[in-house]
């Protein structure tokens, strides 16, 4: 058993200086940001033998909290759907805040991308961005959905990583399993895997069939439609819980006892069956793999294989 707590401060992170585009040249690389990673590592292992039976268990748990401590001259650094800001984790998600779907009978005047929302559209939240009484704290809404309405809503950096390896042995049989999981992870779904008929040529996936209709007000997907930049815009509506626990590997083996081998002049024979990624517990929509969060790379495969090892 071991436990470790650490704080690692990284400074002088290289960053290409944001030279104004009007200079017409690319900026130099400079040492700029400071980031603090504080985390724990726990590992636990145990091995025991009772006659013909033995077990071995190894459990690992680690967590790291990432925090930007200095951002050079910048107040914040927005890049796409992410923001880096002092006090928050690097590349935190920076998105429109939402409040479910607009229901029949409800109205909302907050237009976006040229669309006035209709029932079944995502309900965006107009943040307080205007300071009317001059106290420096915004206290009114501008009635528009603009870049300043985005808020920090999560982080793509996984937290609470967990893995466990268990090996059991009984006489000639052995079994080993390996679990792996992440306790907290935000996955932003965008593009064709997330949005039905995106680019007008995309498909609709089975999980999207739970789309909004007046008869299905509690739907997990907005109303269906073509060319809808209003709904199909990154927001925390599309930010999903990517925590998971996965049986990465399981293997059952049988070793042929020595007495049968001596006659054959063979030193070992082993039969085994291995399965990979056979079982996953997660909350993502069907078809989304929590281990490949952007869903853009080749999907993780379920594999079952069997084998025979003969050693002469």
């Amino acid at each position: 058993m071991s436990a470790e707590y650490y704080i690692r401060n990284t400074s002088d992170i290289l960053y290409t200086e944001d030279v104004p585009l009007l200079v017409g040249l690319n900026g130099p690389k400079i040492n700029a940001f400071k980031v603090k990673n504080s985390g724990i590592d726990l590992s636990l292992s145990s091995f025991k033998k009772f006659g013909d039976f033995s077990y071995e268990v190894r459990v690992n748990f680690d967590d790291v909290k990432n925090e930007v401590t200095d951002l050079y001259k910048k107040k914040e650094w927005i890049s796409g759907n992410t923001i880096s800001k002092v006090g928050f984790s690097m590349w935190s998600y920076y998105l429109f805040d939402t409040d479910g779907l607009l229901q029949k009978g409800e109205t909302q005047s907050l237009t976006y991308a040229g669309r006035t929302p209709v029932a079944g559209d995502i309900k965006y939240v107009d943040q307080l961005t205007i300071d009317t009484n001059g106290d420096g704290i915004p206290d009114a809404r501008d009635g528009k959905l603009l870049a300043d309405d985005k808020v920090i809503v999560g982080s793509p950096i996984p937290r609470y990583n967990f893995s466990a390896e268990i090996n059991l042995k009984y006489k000639m049989f052995d079994l080993s399993v390996f679990f792996q999981g992440v306790g907290k992870q935000d996955v932003l779904m965008t593009g064709m895997p997330a949005w039905a008929f995106d680019n007008s040529s995309g498909n609709i996936q089975t999980w999207m069939t739970d789309y909004w209709t007046p008869e299905n007000p509690g739907a997990s997907y907005p109303n269906l439609g073509l060319s809808n930049r209003y709904n199909y815009t990154p927001s925390n509506y599309w930010l999903r819980d990517g925590s998971y626990l996965r049986l990465k590997n399981i293997q059952v083996g049988f070793n042929v006892p020595d007495i049968y081998l001596k006659k054959l002049d063979i030193s070992a024979i082993r039969f085994f069956v291995t399965g990979q990624n056979l079982l996953t517990f997660d909350k993502m929509p069907k078809g989304w793999d929590p281990e490949t969060p952007n869903n853009s790379s080749y999907p993780i495969l379920k594999t079952i294989s069997g084998g025979l090892n003969i050693t002469f």
Binding site: L22, V23, G24, I78, L146, D198, N199, S200, S201
Partner: protein, 563 residues
Amino acid sequence: MKNIFRILFLILLFSACTKDYLQKYPLDKPSDQTFLSTPEEMEVASNALYNGLYWKWNWENTSTFFALDYGTDIGIRRPENAYTFPWVYSGQDASTGIFRNAWSVFYKNIERANYIIEKLPLSKENVDEGFYNRIMAEALWHRAFSYFYLTELFGDVPFIDKVLFNYNEAYSYQRTSKATIVISILKDLDFCIANLPDAWGGADYGRVSKATAGALKARIALYNEKWDVAANAAQTVMGLGIDLAPDYEKLFLYEGNQKPEVLLAIQYQKDNVYQSFPTIGGSLNVGGWSITMPTRSLVDSYECMDGLPISESPIFDPRNPYENRDPRLKATILTPGQWFCKSLFNIYDPITSQIVNGVTVAIKNQDFTYTGITTFTGFLQKKSIDPKDVYDNTIWNSQNATILFRYAEVLLTYAEAKVELNQFDQSVCDATINKIRSRVNMPAKNVGGLSQAQKRSLVRQERKIELALEGQRFFDIRRWKFAEHIMNNDYLIGRYKQSVLNGSLSVPRPTFDEWGISHYLNEKDLFEAIPLKFKFNKDRDYLWPIPQTEINVVPTLDQNPGY
């Protein structure tokens, strides 16, 4: 003894290191310290300026100068997220990518030009004066060109006329008024007109010439309503002995690439730089993607061959609406029923015809299904798509030059400036509008007795038709200040509905409003709707927003109103 040799050797070694020997510049490539001292280096530096002409903003690999017309009343792009220009529905904001892209492309080119303008005088004695002036003129032309587009798109912009070697200066730049910048670049163009050659040949073909400089000056002056300057600059070009190419349609194909009418075109080179418009705009049946769609409004604005609009002409046949029309209609737009690239463009039947190995065969018609990926309007662009690219399988890597300036525009600029100066008489009309019309066998216009407003409509109509889909309309509807009237439309009309096709509803003639836009009485019965609404906020959308990322870095830059 051994040590003495060693010491002697060391003395020799170090004594050789006089200052001159250490000051070595690379022999195999230009050095930052000496660059721009030889004629070869000056030539190389001027070549780099032409990078600024390859303005593309995404993977589509087509010229943005050209593509801008697909964000206007005459052309739209596939109506959805990734394709439509957001300003057609007033949906853009300061973080929309194309604005940052434009800003970056033009300021990069301004930096390249400034480098030459600043460094060239240091080596003036190394080259003869004519060469020196030519390189200087090319740099000034490209800087003027970039500032022209920046000021038209963004209004006031930071005016940088030197290389910012110390980039810290740039963090506090402010915007300079458009008027000030225009005065400066017009003056620079006078130097260009005086020092650029009349024409270029051989490997230098494609560089800017005297005529290109005059044409740019005329365009800038026209856009900025300096009518006398525009008329004079246009007249300078008109005195250079350039003529219109004989064939309008072929001017935009390979064989038109080097016609004298072409004053500047983006040049391409096999396998290296190319454009993909034949793929982007082409019919699905010949491998295109039909992303760009000319609108019915544009099609309707072509006159009939008798010179009358389709609202009046006796030879207009609503059952065959694309016949008896200005020949530029079928040269510019692929209308249903045309054979193009050995394929019959047909949007109404599941089967169409194609010529394969000399034999006409029936094929599955991909232009038929009315889904997101076929043309919603029922039209495609034909102008500048050379069938050769289809036959040679080069619709992605086409070498067909993209024309940025041509002589017909200069004539139209002259005509428009003369109208505004109230000097547009029959002789001006004959030298400009009627010259352009006679090329395509359209009857001459008689302007006797017309008011200035009527002449203005006439010239604007001719400009819309002649330069359609060449990137001028985007700016024209802005400088004519009527974008808010023509870019607000809840029901964009697409293809004819079945009820029209099967004859149960007859097609009436449209009427034209004061801005030359066609209207139908019962358009919702006649036409399918395009899932797109035009919206234009007159208090905001005449200008693009300064890119948000730039304002983040340079807080002294004000944003345009409304953004």
